[in-house]
Amino acid sequence: MDHQAIKDLLPLAALDRLEPDEERALEEHLRAGCDECDAELRELREVAASLALSLEPESSEGGAREAMEDRIWRRLDARLHSAAAAAPSRFAAREYDRARRPARGRVGAWRAAAAVMAAGIVGIAIYAGQMTDRLRRASAENERRLAAMSSRVEGLRAEVVRARSEVGTLQRVLGDRLRLENVLSAPDLRLVRLAPLAPAPGAGAIVAVSRANKAAVFQAAGLPAAPAGKTYELWWITKEHGPVAAGLFQAEDGHPVIAPVALPPAGEHVLLSAVTLEPAGGVSKPTGAMYLKGAPGPA
């Protein structure tokens, strides 16, 4: 950029609103030693800074203004005290500055006493400042601990939710096992053993049926997990109506399955029981591959 182009940038530079490439060009120009632009930029910065003056309300309430100025000074004074506590030598210089103000007239004994009192007051002020700083630090530490504890409580809450979910699952599994045990111990127990077919050669299952207990429970092992959007479905295949849906279940790789299922249709002659893989939600008649199949044993 030439000199004139840079000059055109100066008002925007004073507003701190240059784009990065413009800023680089200006810096290079000033580094090259253009005193004219340097002086003009300084002048325009004065103009930009003066914009802040235009913000002062013409008629704000005096008490509020003074209170605000006091609050600002109080923040500064607290920092002066903190800095003094951290660097005694600088603080000593400051106190020296206060102490060396010119005395008027001869200092009498009462003035000496007043000076001692003033020194005492300064000492108390220093102590109060240090205590304030300590309290402030203690407060900040407590806030930090509180934040850490709040975070920990949130973590524990999440763990409780997870634990409740696990307990619910375990209760369901336990209920299924108890139901299976009841059926297995029933005097009218009938077992249907299901043998593996090609899709799951390592699988096996039984269906325990007790009409006295009005319950039938299916237990399987070695079935692979059903693919997404699929479910296993158990069938009673009767002489009268062919396949009758008996229940849906999911399997997890390496985990046994226990699931309550429907009793065989009353009064019908069950020829077979089978497990097929079907769309999620089940179907009324089998459509998918058969994984297990077996005939009821003797009554």
Partner: protein
């Protein structure tokens, strides 16, 4: 006003005294510029306590860096205003992911200097008159550029005008303001 100015130490003298460890000079500078800097900070920050904290940060930085202040690079007021604007923008950005600190209890023990207040009010009046004489479009571009953290492009988008027009208006407004202020200072 002339009497008031004569009775007051110059800003530069206050900074020199601060460099020597005189905390009363810091207090005088705070009384002189605190309200104006807070007004600037409040344009960026909705929280009054945040604005006052920015002012305290600025004056504290001035206290710590008083020895390094170079009057040949600009006036004390430019130094303070530049620091305040920069810190207010930083805090505005930081506040977007942080909750505001608790408000402090007000105390009142400072006795304001009426002459100083009159002097500042007069200066402010000159500025407002100068701003009032600007074209309204120029004034809008200038104020949006200075009292926000928007880039040139963002200012253009907000005003719904081309980027080149934004630059022209900012430049023109600054030059007119400089001329107006120069005329008033005579």
């Amino acid at each position: 006003m002339a009497d008031a100015q004569q009775a007051m130490p110059a800003d530069r003298d206050l900074v020199v005294a601060m460099a020597a460890g005189n905390s009363e000079a810091l207090r005088s500078l705070s009384a002189r510029y605190g309200r104006m800097l807070a007004g600037l900070a409040r344009r960026f920050l909705s929280n009054e306590s945040d604005a006052e904290e920015v002012v305290a940060d600025v004056l504290w930085q001035a206290w710590r860096e008083a020895k390094a202040f170079d009057a040949s690079r600009g006036s004390v007021s430019v130094w303070l205003v530049t620091l305040a604007r920069s810190r207010a923008i930083d805090r505005l950005r930081a506040n977007r992911a942080r909750k505001p600190p608790p408000a402090e209890q007000p105390v009142s023990e400072q006795v304001p200097d009426p002459a100083l207040k009159i002097h500042q009010a007069q200066r402010a009046q000159i500025l407002r008159t100068a701003l009032g004489k600007l074209d309204s479009n120029e004034r809008a571009a200038l104020q949006l550029a200075y009292f926000s953290d928007l880039s040139q492009s963002e200012v253009a988008e907000k005003l719904g005008i081309p980027l080149g027009t934004v630059k022209t208006r900012m430049r023109s407004a600054m030059i007119k303001l400089r001329e107006a202020l120069a005329g008033r200072q005579e």
